[in-house]
Amino acid sequence: MKIRTKLALSFGIIISILFTEIVLNQIISDNATNTYQKLKSQALPVLRILDKYESINNELFLLTSNKVYNKNLPLSSQNRLNGILEVELPYLKTELFLLSENLEKDDEITQKSPEIIESTNKLIEYGSKLNSLLVLKDDYSNPVSVELATKIVEEDISNLHDKLNTDLLLLKIKYGNLLEEYQNEFSQNLKSLSNIILITGILGILFGIILAILVIRSISKPIQALNNGALRVSSGDYEVGIHLKGKDELASLGDSFNIMTSSLRSNFELIQQNNKEIKKQEERFRKVIEASPAAIILMDSKKKISLINIQTEKLFGYTRSEIIGRSAEKLIPSRLLKEQSMVDSIFSSENKIDTLGIEQNFYGLTKENKEVPIEIRLNFIEINNQDMILASIIDITERRQQQAEIKKFVEQLKFKNKELEQFSYITSHDLQEPLRTVLSFIDLIQDDYKDKLDDNLNVYLKFISDASTRMSSLIKSLLDYSRIGYKGVVEQIDLNILLDSVTADLGFKIEHTNAEIKFGNLPTINGFNLELRLLFQNLITNAIKFHKEGENPKINISYEDKWTHWEFKIEDNGIGIREEFQAKIFVIFQRLHNREEYEGTGIGLSHCKKIVELHGGEIWVNSQENVGSSFHFTIPKI
């Protein structure tokens, strides 16, 4: 039987007992209430009126007797007599009438009340008559009045008084017995009520105890078994099984318990496998940490070290046991620790990776109090809801030495470049002077000795003059080349304005060749004004110069915004460049045509390359012979 059935049955029995008790109580209470109502509405009011009636009847008789025989009757007695006649008796007869109206018709008081009321009316009548006969003391001297008054009292009032008293007495006995009867009945009802409460109470308690014992027994044993099983499971014994008899809820709970232990067993095995896997992962992770070329330190937000790898041991000379649990500040020289702001600003920067050591000139402190230049990368991570700092530390002693050497070489190179530039400048500038002297003297010779020079000599002089002029041109070009970027200032340049100016300067050539130059809305960029002007001028000039015979040059200038830099393109429909020469065109004084075909020194594109590189960009060409060329160059935005 299921527990709930047992409990329902138990409670059902107890409730039935209580219900029986309630019903019996109700019945007896109703009886008691009825008896009480009769007592209250019948016997007691009747007896009260009868008592009062009897008392007033006696008082009236005494007062009237006194009035007849005492001519000095006090006024207060007379007033009392008046009160009885005018108030008390009328009231009593009204009360009696109303009471008899509310009682059964066969009730004795109902049957007797008209007679009593009639007697009362007569008493009032005789009393009033007596009052009118004996008003003054002199009335007592009147024998007629006195005789009549005596007769009224001794005969009429006395007879009525006796009769009324007898009637009242009989009624009082009758209703006295009735009262006693009701009281006994009422008492009996209360006794029965008490007995029923006692018996049903005892029965209820006995049933309750028996049922409680039975139910407790049927529940406590399986619960004990379940408790033992639970204790064994809690101590790690997942093989425990419980076998409870019956089909109640506890047996079902036992089955569920067995299922639970089985499930726990499976889960425990799964957890064990997972733990192994976690251990493997940890081992793998540990190996990775250990294999890291950098020293790794894991610390909490208060810089307390919780993990290090072998590189850390090597770098700082501490064993794990010596350093784990200690503050990371132990690994920082005290002179740096004094610069608290720097250390704190680094360690308090959450959610970012920061690097110490490269520019901050940071050092670590070994166990032997030796300072080692280090680079630290700090990574703020959260492990188990705790803010942690992962520091990756590299000994940069060698790198620092290498950087020092590189710096030294760069300085030397810069110095040499400067020297070379100076040399080129000086050379080209100083060489111009003797060349100009040579050309001047050739001019003088040709002018002054024109008649004396033979043809051969004139030809030779012309060769010398041409060679000198070309040399001067070359030197000038070289001078220009060396001057590129010299004393220049980076500024914002609107390329639209710049190109308007360039095309204006090249107006003659453009007009002469019917060249068509197109450019859209170009950007404003940062750069050297003169050099950029030369760059565009050279490229446009080249495009005009190397146009196809019989075809007007068409030049299109465009650009693309490449996020980090601008990429410009100058396209033409010129003669193009054969592929094998495309790599040579930016080499200084490299010409692809002889001077007779196209004039020039062959330094223009070298200028372009130098200007682009001066701005940090690149320049290249895409070209197809007899189709045209497109020169590309980039200018970084910053």
Binding site: P74, L75, S76, N79, E86, V87, E88, Y91, L136, D138
Partner: protein, 379 residues
């Protein structure tokens, strides 16, 4: 959540409706009292108004929630007939009174038509006589019988063997009835007597008294108020030694003052605690003294007023339980008062008869022994 709130609101509405159904329809009832608080017969006004106030306060302090609160508003009628109606109208207008108490017989007559129009119940708590009983059905007299009380004086004159009496009477209904009741019994028993009405504010009675003295008058009856104190003094000054008789108002302190002690020995009808329910009456006087600091000079007016107010309250307290909704308060109260058969008051056991007068308050004969003190006369 919203559903739960709606349920609570609905429940509250139901409770309100149910409780409002049980709420009394009448929450307050206003009662007025037109009484002489100044000028004349103040012993019939001040102490009775205090006694009524005491009754109202006792009721209000102990009443159940379902019972109406009662408010008492007192106006000074100065014992003048002409003031009764204006004061009644004032009480109606300002307080919408449902019951008016009025101690002046003339005043009670004066407001008769208006109380019937308004459905207001009038109660005279001092006097009950045939004249008042002939008025309309809304008028009740919860007091001694004027005729009976004063008849005692006539009986006393007869029993003392006095053969010639003069009755000096103040010109109002009450004193007229009192004088007539004495005159009637004297006439029945062969005692020569005459009633002499004096002027309202008359203070010199020498001529009247001199004439009576010369006529050999053996009994002097002063049915009036304090001004007859002058008459008593003037009588004694004239050498008149015949006994004096008075009405129920002899204890007015001015009476003694004006008589300069000549009032001592005057016999009169009176009512004290000994004549009523002594236990209840004594308790009332204690409460009165506790509430107002002193006992009343003349006890019968406040005792009657106290009983009269309590009889009315005894009915009004059941108004919300017993009064049918469609019945007017005045009609309901009138019917209830007509059914008062037995009320155990401080003045005795009182009933109200079919003509609206009460029975059960009976005066005795007293004699003024000293200033403010009366003693009961034994036959």
């Amino acid at each position: 959540m919203l559903f739960k709130k709606k349920l609570v609101v609905l429940f509250m509405i139901c409770i309100t409706i149910l409780t409002s159904c049980n709420n009394p329809e009448v929450k307050e009832i206003n009662i007025g009292f037109i009484a002489p608080l100044t000028t004349r017969a103040t012993d019939l006004g001040i102490a009775p108004s205090q006694a009524m106030k005491l009754a109202v306060e006792k009721y209000n302090s102990k009443k159940l929630k379902s019972q109406p609160k009662i408010n008492l508003f007192v106006e000074d009628g100065k014992w003048e007939k002409d003031m009764a109606l204006p004061l009644y109208e004032k009480l109606r207008k300002e307080h919408n009174i449902d019951v008016v108490f009025i101690s002046n017989t003339d005043g009670t007559v004066a407001i008769q038509d208006r109380i019937m129009e308004d459905g207001v119940i009038a109660v005279n708590p001092l006097n009950s006589d045939k004249l008042l009983s002939s008025l309309n059905k809304n008028t009740f007299k919860i007091a001694k019988s004027t005729e009976e009380a004063n008849k005692i004086v006539g009986v006393r004159i007869i029993e003392l063997g006095l053969k010639k009496a003069i009755i000096l009477q103040y010109p109002n209904d009450f004193m007229t009835i009192a004088a007539n009741s004495v005159s009637e019994i004297l006439n029945e028993n062969g005692v020569e007597n005459k009633i002499l009405k004096v002027a309202k504010d008359q203070t010199d009675f020498t001529e009247i008294l001199k004439a009576a003295q010369e006529e050999g008058t053996q009994a002097y009856v002063f049915f009036g108020y304090k001004d007859f104190g002058f008459a008593m003094k003037q009588a004694r000054d004239l050498g008149i030694e015949a006994p004096f008789f008075g009405s129920t108002v002899l204890l007015d302190p001015d009476f003694y003052k004006y008589s300069e002690g000549a009032i001592i020995g005057t016999e009169c009808p009176f009512f004290s605690t000994l004549d009523g329910n002594y236990i209840l009456a004594s308790e009332f006087l204690k409460d009165f003294e506790k509430r107002f600091g002193e006992e009343p000079v003349s006890v019968w007016p406040p005792m009657q007023a106290y009983d009269a107010m309590n009889i009315v309250i005894n009915e009004l307290k059941n108004v919300n339980e017993d009064k049918p909704k469609d019945e007017l308060l005045g009609d309901w109260l009138r019917n209830r008062l007509y059914n008062v058969r037995y009320y155990q008051g401080i003045c005795g056991n009182i009933s109200i008869t079919e003509d609206g007068s009460s029975r059960g308050i009976y005066f005795s004969l007293y004699k003024m022994e000293s200033e403010g003190k009366l003693i009961k006369i034994k036959r």
